[in-house]
């Protein structure tokens, strides 16, 4: 009964448009009131949720991405990606995906990727003769690789929830992220051949070299982050702050496109974005504590295990559940609420936590491009000045592609567990 109060208040708040963090807080408060637990538990649990060492790295990674973004990396990355794959049929579509993969190694957020790459690529593709719906769809779909290729805010949250090393989580996302990118390129190519999309001339090795040199300092940030985490010299927080300093230096002194006067605004905007995540984490920690004290994870695990204990079927059930949740819920909120309950189920059937965490993040990222709540879908449709329906139709092949990669990652654990096991001891 009390859990019913919790869940119904939460659902009602979501429907009327209350911010998700506040909906979690209101439903938790209603539960505490019904059960008769003193309200002082709420600030205590919020504090405990936010005072987690791993979360310290979130503002740093967001700042590093925003500084790079403000420092003129988008055009450089697109130029480099274009000189690599632009000569293939449907080349600008492939460029779009390649740029998202490179961009993902810098910002780690899908929304920033969709907005930055989309604002340059969508008008450019339309001008070159590509249909607007395809241009918007491929931008939205490819932006989801951002939080899978390291660095990644959702992976940091997973680290905070489960105690898994953030470095291992970042590495776990690398192969699935690259696979997703390559699979989307293949899909774009097949569509381009069938619909006779344009291609451009091979720009030559000279341009490839020049564009690489131009983008080198931006792309190097991914290397810096990976090295920082793998060397054992720096914690994720230290790596994130050093990456921010690096991004500032590159934007200001190397590319000279980041004016010093723009830095305070970028700093404050990054802090506000981070604060929003932390508020969500704080309220969600109360909600998650209630679920755990009501033994909901065990109840979910027991009820599913009573139907089947076949690992293959359980992975399928988890995937279907998360894909449905991802259609309606914001990524971080869904992660905080569902990760621990589903991890209980996953470990009960012997699924490796790193493998499980990777497929959870993959699922929720796919949710960013599915209606009715698909943030990246909205951004790209808006840039392309299209209603949602044609973009939803055009994104369908890419959704199928991403789900195919998700199934591969789901049933071949080595795709996510091999790299962390080899590179970290």
């Amino acid at each position: 009964m009390n859990v019913l109060i919790l869940l119904s208040v939460f659902a009602a708040c979501l429907v009327i448009g209350v911010p998700i963090a506040i909906a979690l807080g209101l439903s938790s408060l209603a539960y505490l009131f019904a059960v008769g637990i003193p309200f002082v538990v709420m600030p205590q649990k919020m504090y405990a949720g936010m005072d987690v060492f791993v979360l310290l790295s979130i503002p740093g990674f967001i700042l590093a991405g925003n500084l790079m973004n403000g420092g003129g990396i988008t055009e450089r990355i697109i130029r480099f990606a274009n000189s690599m794959v632009g000569w293939i049929r449907g080349g600008l579509g492939l460029t779009n995906v390649a740029a998202s993969m490179l961009f993902g190694g810098i910002t780690g957020t899908a929304v920033a990727d969709a907005a930055s790459i989309g604002s340059v690529m969508i008008p450019g593709m339309k001008k070159a003769g590509y249909p607007a719906d395809f241009s918007a769809a491929i931008t939205a779909a490819s932006s989801t690789v951002g939080p899978i290729i390291p660095p990644s805010v959702p992976m940091i949250i997973v680290g905070a929830l489960s105690g898994i090393s953030v470095g291992k989580m970042f590495l776990a996302g690398a192969i699935p992220g690259i696979l997703m990118g390559l699979a989307m390129m293949l899909t774009a190519y097949v569509i381009a051949v069938r619909r006779k999309f344009p291609r451009q001339e091979w720009l030559g090795f000279k341009e490839l070299g020049r564009s690489f040199v131009s983008a080198f300092w931006a792309i190097s940030m991914t290397g810096l982050i990976i090295y920082g985490l793998l060397s054992g010299f720096a914690t994720p927080t230290e790596t994130a702050v050093v990456a921010s300093v690096y991004a500032f230096a590159v934007g200001t002194f190397v590319y000279r496109e980041l004016p010093i006067r723009a830095v305070p605004k970028i700093l404050i905007d990054s802090a506000i974005s981070s604060a929003a995540i932390l508020v969500l984490v704080g309220f969600a920690n109360v909600f998650a504590w209630i679920l755990v004290s009501e033994r909901i994870p065990q109840a979910i695990a027991a009820s599913i295990l009573s139907i089947t204990d076949n690992r293959f079927v359980i992975i399928l059930i988890i995937n279907i559940l998360l894909l449905i949740v991802g259609m309606f819920m914001e990524t971080i909120a869904a992660l905080i609420i569902l990760f621990v309950p589903l991890l209980t189920l996953a470990t009960a059937v012997g699924i490796d936590p790193i493998h499980f965490a990777t497929l959870v993040v993959l699922n929720l990222m796919i949710g960013l491009t599915t209606p009715p709540v698909g943030v990246c879908l909205f951004i790209c449709a808006n840039i392309a000045r299209l209603p949602l329906t044609p973009v939803i139709k055009a994104i369908f092949p890419f959704l199928l592609t991403n789900i195919a990669v998700l199934l591969l990652v789901s049933y071949i654990p080595a795709l996510s567990t091999w790299l962390p096991s080899v590179l970290t001891k």
Partner: protein, 165 residues
Amino acid sequence: MQHINLWVTRACRWGVGIAFAVLILAVLVQVIGRTIGVSPVWSEELTRFGLLYLAAFGAGLALVSGDLVNVDVICETLPPPWPRRLRLVSALLVTGLCALLIGPAWKFTSIGVMQTSPALRLRMDFVHASVLILLGSLLIFSLLRVLGMIFNDESGLPSQPEIPS
């Protein structure tokens, strides 16, 4: 009311900026200190406190800017004037939640009087107060939104603050 809004926004932007700057400097001191072999023990603690205050001052601003995301696919597709009415209800609920939690947050803050942090020797009520400030900033900005919607015919939609820090 606009004057109050401007003043609170400016104060919170300064607060969030200073908290972030403290966090960055503490981490840099940690990295440089380790490199030269004199790593201070307090830097990790200060970083954590910086993050808590970043969340505290940024919470209200995140509500205003729309960074505190909601699911608006249902409420914003209803015929007028329902979207605006629901935005008002939503703002009232935020105000109500925070008003109900201010007392418990004060109690939680007070508990910290008897504790000190291990490295900085800082009284923990100053640290616990971050939750009080977080709820306070949410309360003020949501109340301003409610008042703006009732008396100034504002839309209640998220907006980017216009003042520089």
